[in-house]
Amino acid sequence: MPTARQLEFESLIAPHLSSLYSTALRMTHNQNDAEDLVQDTLYKAFRAFDQYQKNTNFRAWAFRILVNTYITAYRKAIRQPQKVSYDDLEEFYLYKKLDESISLQETAKEDFLENFFEDDVKDALENLPYQFRLVVLLCDVEGFSYNEIANIIDAPLGTVMSRLYRGRKLLQRYLWSYAKKRGYVLNEKD
């Protein structure tokens, strides 16, 4: 018979298996590695469960362990310098590009979004440099607040915000290049 403590751990973590796996998949790019990462996370979380303070944010606590486990396991792979230029990243990139290339009606711009393949959105996310990808996933997919993310990735709030804003702008560029490649946008000038 499992103890009350074990059952408590199970009941706290079970509702988050799908979001832990989803984030792991976007970070590792493949199902086997994602599964391994979540398994390691579950194991570490269970061993550290005594350190979890009751009635604090369990979900953020579990994600913090996922992120630490990811960084430890992928330390070598993610240490490569990221060659991205951020100088000319602007807000509303996708909207502005759509506006320039075709005189779409507003409804057509929204249709344009609807037409994105799920895989294109996933690919675009997975191509972001990992520091950016992580905060964009935590905020925009998992719905964590800036403060929760600062705690999860163990970074100052300012770092969270700058990575998040840059990551999203970069993501819009990637989406735009997918849109062109897939032929969603015709009459593009450049």
Partner: protein
């Protein structure tokens, strides 16, 4: 007492704050100024609408609904192994 009326935001100032605005991470005063701007500036309003739609799209499409059921078995194992030691 001299009290200057709060300056209105122009498009650039809205653009600079749009992400924090959409994340609900601005002060009440900043929110008011942005919403005031959006109430009369159609181009900015359209852009903000588009950003909201885009955020929804990303959340919707990037979220895996399924996960391997082996994880549930693994969870049980982790808990039980611990129990037996």
């Amino acid at each position: 007492m001299k009290k200057t009326k709060p300056k209105k935001y122009d498009c650039a100032e809205v653009e600079k704050r749009v992400q924090a605005y959409l994340d609900n991470y601005l002060s009440d005063e900043e929110i008011l100024k942005i919403e005031d701007h959006l109430s009369y500036c159609l181009p900015c309003d359209k852009k903000v609408e588009f950003e909201i739609k885009l955020k929804e799209l990303i959340r919707h499409k990037a979220n895996e609904k399924d996960y391997p059921k082996t994880l549930e078995e693994e969870l049980k194992k982790i808990i039980e192994d611990r129990h037996s030691t």
